[in-house]
């Protein structure tokens, strides 16, 4: 079954006097449990596509389906609910809430979802352990390194076991060792929990971990190959 399906997506931006095609008739299907990399140079459309899939940005035309739900026509509130229950986000800048501790940051989504305190604590402590931050739950983001903060962000994204994690340049601010550790964590989560990962990046090291690489240029998908080197059909 498809975790994400995009049909003929178009999105135009106005930049100065120019109209720029952020997405140019994009068709894409990502299966559940996929580990997909969106690769493009800056301005190629990967972040735009990622944001559209995550319901953070609306396309001008076309359809987006997350699981069995069409999301491009949802209201702001319904989109928020869809994101809350289906999608975990990892942003380029760690984007943690500075006034909350690591554990509270991890619990944030679960708390908004309405999980009980005990349930949240159990899950957050387990996930912090899983990302190698056991014992650091009471630290505030300012007291943690960049790598540790990004791990907290990952823990927050996966703590509520979303069907899909969208990561935008997750390794951009990390040193190579930390980046490697993070990608290993993503792979592990993908394999153990069948979580679908869609990662927007132009980092070759990240692409090496992906089962499928979708290359974009000027808002178009220009190549779509799996880890065996086979071109994936159905995308254009």
């Amino acid at each position: 079954m498809a975790a994400v399906k995009c049909i003929d997506l178009c999105k135009t931006y106005r930049q100065g006097d120019q109209d720029i095609m952020g997405l140019d008739h994009v068709n894409l299907e990502i299966k559940e449990g996929g580990f997909v990399c969106l690769s493009a140079p800056s301005g190629g459309g990967k972040t735009t596509l990622l944001n559209a899939i995550g319901g953070l940005d609306r396309p001008d035309s076309g359809e987006i389906w997350v699981g069995e739900q069409r999301i491009d026509n949802l209201s702001k509130g319904d989109l928020a609910q869809m994101r809350l229950h289906n999608i975990g986000f990892v942003f380029q800048a760690y984007n943690l809430i500075p006034v909350l501790t690591a554990q509270e940051n991890v619990e944030f989504v679960m708390q908004v979802q309405g999980l009980s305190k005990a349930e949240r604590a159990e899950k957050s402590l387990a996930i912090l352990e899983e990302v190698g931050l056991g014992g650091l739950g009471d630290r505030r983001p300012a007291q943690m390194s960049g790598g540790q903060q990004q791990r907290v962000a990952v823990a927050r994204a996966i703590a509520s076991r979303p069907a899909m994690v969208l990561a935008d340049e997750p390794t951009a601010n990390l040193d190579s060792h930390t980046a490697e550790k993070l990608m290993e964590l993503f792979v592990e989560l993908n394999e153990h929990h069948s979580t679908t990962f869609v990662i927007a990046t132009h980092d070759q090291r990240v692409m090496g971990y992906c089962k499928r690489i979708i290359k974009m240029l000027d808002g178009k998908i220009v190549d779509d190959i799996d880890q065996t080197g086979t071109r994936v059909t159905g995308s254009a």
Binding site: N51, G54, L56, D57, K76, G77, A80, Q81, M82, R83, L84, H85, F89, F91, A93, N95, I97, P98, V99, L100, E104, F108, V109, Q111, V112, Q113, G114, L115, R156
Partner: protein, 409 residues
């Protein structure tokens, strides 16, 4: 409930994120609230004192007269009921105090000067709780009975007449037949009032002595009633109306002394205006603080929206943050006001500007009066207007598009 808890946690912790700015704003709110309550207490105390003084200068809380007496306050407009008939009509009414009086315009003369004044024939026992004079005698004595033969005058009048305790003066008025009614009286007491005008316009003699001098039998011109609280006279007023109208005209104190009644109404309006004006000054600081707080957290707000927090929760977070700040300021401001007013319970002496104060009927000693209603009004106004002031930045924060907010630098 969970969302409310996280919203509250975020609001509280964000409040202390820039603690210097928060402390400055709390100090501003505290001082503003203190100023609202303290100044209101001073003004309230001053007006209350004016009203009490005014009421204690004979009006009582309710009065009854001949229907024509207010327009023509002379001996020709006596109350058309005898004292016995009045007693019978009023037997079911139980005021704190009740007194019947003779009140007529008169001329007083000493061997040097003559002055016009209002002559009161009173029963000293009945007036003890109604009239200020007994406690304000500074020389001699007060009247001892309704048939006392002496006269009590004010210090200013004594000076004007160039007379003094023990000397004789002549009081002259008219009887109902428009004949001159006069008699010589010995000055047995001199009083000092809060307002000089009372000292030079009033003279007191025994009620029976006045009735005899004016040849009116047991008739009087005025019945005064004292209730428990001047702010709550409606019950007493209605009962007296039922008992005495239509033969008599019954009026509450705020109609009898329009100036005092107006002062009290104006004071209520003034308190509200004062509170709002101070808050408006505060609100600029408050809105600025919130706008800055939101501006500094645009990315966080965008991220929370991206993660699925509803816009309403973002709005609630900013509003709660504002209310928490105001709440802390209110607590401190209220405590400051209380701590400022309590030590001044014995009054603030403003005798340096006594003449100016007297000109508009106020005493030269101010007694700040902390009233629960005023405190509640100040607190509710600050919270309600603070809530409204915080809505704009909170609304803007909740309307951010997550992706635009996250990418803001």
């Amino acid at each position: 409930m969970n969302t409310l808890r996280i919203v509250f946690t975020l609001a509280w912790r964000n409040l202390w994120r820039n603690h210097r700015r928060t402390l400055i704003m709390i100090a501003a709110v505290s001082v503003g609230v203190w100023a609202m309550i303290f100044m209101t207490a001073i003004m309230r105390g001053m007006v209350n004192e004016m009203v009490r003084d005014g009421i204690s200068v004979l009006p009582g809380h309710v009065q009854a007269h001949n229907p024509d007496f207010r327009d023509d306050p002379t001996i020709n407009n006596l109350i058309p009921l005898s004292e016995a008939e009045l007693s019978e009509r009023l037997q079911d009414i139980e005021p704190v105090a009740l007194a019947t009086r003779v009140r007529v315009p008169a001329v007083v003369s000493s061997e040097y000067e003559s002055r016009a004044l209002t002559l009161f024939g009173i029963d000293p026992a009945a007036e003890s709780e109604l009239t200020f004079v007994e406690g304000d005698i500074t020389e001699g004595r007060f009247l001892e009975s309704p048939d006392d033969r002496g006269v009590v005058i004010g210090r200013k009048m004594a000076d004007n007449l160039d007379t003094k305790l023990g000397k004789r003066i002549v009081l002259m008025s008219q009887d109902p037949d428009n004949e001159i009614a006069d008699r010589g009286f010995r000055v047995v007491g001199i009083f000092e009032a809060n307002l000089e005008v009372h000292e030079e316009t009033m003279a007191f003699i025994g009620k029976q002595t006045a009735q005899s001098m004016l040849r009116i039998g047991d008739r009087v011109t005025e019945v005064a009633f004292l209730g428990t609280d001047y702010r709550d006279v409606e019950g007493l007023y209605r009962s007296v109306q039922q008992a005495l109208e239509p033969e008599l005209r019954v009026q509450p104190w705020y109609e009898l002394d329009g100036y005092l009644g107006t002062m009290l109404s104006v004071m209520d309006g003034f308190v509200l205006v004062w509170v709002i004006v101070i808050f408006l000054a505060l609100s600029f600081g408050l809105v600025n603080t919130l706008v800055m707080a939101v501006f500094e957290r645009i990315r966080e707000i965008g991220m929370m929206l991206a993660l699925g927090m509803r816009p309403a929760a973002i709005l609630g977070q900013i509003v709660i943050e504002s209310l928490l700040l105001l709440f802390i300021g209110l607590i401190i401001g209220n405590l400051l006001a209380w701590a400022s007013v309590v030590p001044l319970a014995d009054g603030i002496d403003v005798s340096v500007v006594a003449q100016g104060m007297e000109d508009f009927g106020a005493s030269s000693v101010l007694y700040p009066q902390l009233e629960l209603d005023d405190m509640v009004l100040a607190n509710i106004t600050v919270l309600a207007l603070g809530f409204l002031a915080s809505l704009s930045p909170a609304w803007r924060a909740s309307r951010y598009e997550p992706i635009e907010a996250i990418t803001k630098t």
